[in-house]
């Protein structure tokens, strides 16, 4: 392991141990936070009992749906905008200021339109992720060196094969950044939406535990989300590293 990795691991382990100690010694009250070991223990118990399995599956399904829609939709919209500069100039200011809009404020409206089901939750996750994917798709397509496209033409490639064999791999690093952001935003959007107004899912379960002073369940589920998101991101990180290594970077 590299030195930086050691230090990073040490910082995290040290922080968890410090929290554990502060909670155990009573410096942090039981009503404020439970020790990390108790979180893990309770989470294990909840998972064994299977009480929240339905909520977990539902949240994962919603995140997956929002993520896939954001990546596919963002890629298609980004490619269309890139091919149509006039439309792009028109929507550019909207894209640039998009993340200044607090979507969650529109949640009641979405519920009125779609009903109290998974659709508004998935839609919020999608809306959160799609623009990151659009922006990174545009960025990736902008950065394709024109000389590579010329090279494709000299090799006699038509527009479709040029797109698949030259443009797509050339834009891959930026597309990957878009995909990573889309997964993060999908998680944030879905869980936050569940938190506010849904009647099921992980976000809802945490809010429910919070409202009922059930600290142990609340912290156990929070821990679950942190571990889940870390694992998913680590997976994408390793995948990205592998792609970059193939380019000798």
């Amino acid at each position: 392991m590299k030195r930086a990795t050691w230090i990073r691991t040490l910082v995290i382990v040290g922080f968890v141990l410090l929290l554990e100690a502060l909670c155990r010694w009573g410096a942090i009250g039981r009503m404020t936070m439970i020790p990390p070991s108790a979180m893990a223990e309770h989470l294990w118990k909840l998972l064994q009992e299977g009480r929240y399995n339905g909520d977990i599956v539902q949240t994962l399904r919603n995140v997956l749906a929002a993520f896939v829609l954001a990546v596919v939709g963002g890629f298609v919209l980004g490619s269309l905008l890139h091919a149509w500069p006039r439309a792009r100039r028109a929507v550019d200011p909207f894209l640039a200021t998009y993340y200044a809009i607090p979507f969650f404020a529109f949640y009641p409206l979405l519920v009125v339109i779609f009903g109290l089901n998974a659709a508004p939750v998935i839609l919020i996750g999608f809306l959160f992720g799609v623009v990151a994917m659009i922006l990174n798709t545009l960025n990736g397509l902008d950065r394709i060196p024109p000389v590579l496209v010329k090279t494709a033409r000299i090799a006699g490639l038509g527009p479709l094969r040029t797109a698949l064999l030259v443009k797509l791999p050339s834009a891959a690093p930026q597309l990957f950044t878009g995909i990573k952001l889309a997964i993060a935003y999908s998680f944030i959007g879905v869980i936050a939406a569940e938190f506010i107004m849904s009647t099921s899912g992980l976000g809802y379960s945490i809010a429910y535990a919070f409202n009922n002073f059930d600290n142990r369940t609340m912290y156990a589920l929070m821990l679950f989300i942190i571990v889940l998101v870390t694992v998913v991101n680590a997976f994408f990180h390793v995948w990205e590293r592998r792609i970059m290594a193939r380019r000798g970077l």
Binding site: P145, V147, L148, K150, T151, R153, I154, A155, G156, L157, R161, L165, V166, P169, S170, A172, R246, R247, G248, L249
Partner: protein
């Protein structure tokens, strides 16, 4: 010399003009009218001031862009906005694909053209050996120097066995020593393949050293204002730089180009 007045032009531009739409809605007259005949097997270079339309000329000849006026022929067939088989192009910019290894980069065009696997392997091995890339077959472009990457691009062009090789300032991004050595390799490649070569360069010494014949272009809109035959033997290398004639050719080129270069920079000043 290699020039002949027979009809056997390998490639030909007739009255070619290229006009671009400008960003402000006007038009930029980039090139022409230009008439040019390339004789089979000759090494022809074009020198000219910066921004004179040299690269535009190459794009039109290669079929990468269509002329606004005039006609382009390659081996007697009109070139109509499509790159004809038999033409290979090497650019100044790094055109290697960063996601492919050296050998996959070199094989790219052949595989797309549906050449069978054994033949691809044979030609790639030959090109790898010819360009001195044996130790880097499985390396990625990011692991190579600029000169090495340019060799990869030249090898990728060579494996398609082009009969006309167009080079657009291929050594422009390289240091002076590497440029001289690459120039020697280009001469060797030209001799061994028997291809016709058209080299675009801003380096007068490079043109004087490598070419059978040199075309001098005017400031924009680029026209061919002079045609100089060097009279070098076919067997030659960078050592001819010590020859008296080399200095004479270089100074003659500069004599022709100095005024055009001044015009080019003067125009840039007036345009502001």
């Amino acid at each position: 010399m290699h020039r002949s007045s027979s009809d056997a032009a390998h490639a030909e531009l007739k009255g070619v003009v290229r006009v671009y739409p400008a960003a402000d809605g006007g038009k930029v007259h980039a090139l022409g009218p230009v008439d040019l005949r390339l004789v089979p097997g000759e090494f022809y270079s074009i020198v000219g001031p910066s921004g004179c339309g040299k690269s535009t000329l190459l794009d039109v000849l290669a079929g990468l862009s269509a002329p606004t006026e005039g006609e382009v022929f390659f081996e007697g067939q009109p070139v109509a906005g499509k790159v004809p088989p038999g033409i290979g192009v090497v650019f100044q910019e790094d055109a290697s694909f960063p996601w492919l290894t050296v050998e996959d980069n070199i094989a790219f065009g052949l595989r797309r053209a549906g050449v069978d696997g054994a033949e691809v392997d044979r030609r790639v091995s030959w090109a790898v050996g010819f360009m001195g890339l044996e130790d880097f077959r499985r390396a990625y472009p990011a692991q190579l120097s600029g000169g090495m990457r340019q060799r990869v691009c030249i090898a990728r062009t060579l494996v398609t066995q082009p009969r006309l090789i167009l080079l657009d300032e291929p050594f422009g991004a390289l240091d002076a020593q590497t440029r001289l050595l690459m120039g020697d390799e280009l001469l060797r490649l030209w001799r061994e393949t028997g291809a016709t070569v058209m080299l675009i360069t801003h380096a007068l010494d490079e043109a004087a050293m490598l070419s059978d014949r040199i075309g001098v272009m005017s400031a924009r809109p680029g026209r061919l204002i002079a045609d100089i035959c060097t009279g070098w033997p076919r067997e030659r290398d960078s050592r001819i730089a010590a020859d008296e004639a080399f200095g004479a050719i270089t100074s003659r080129l500069w004599g022709l180009l100095r005024e055009e270069s001044l015009k080019a920079t003067g125009m840039a000043g007036a345009a502001r």
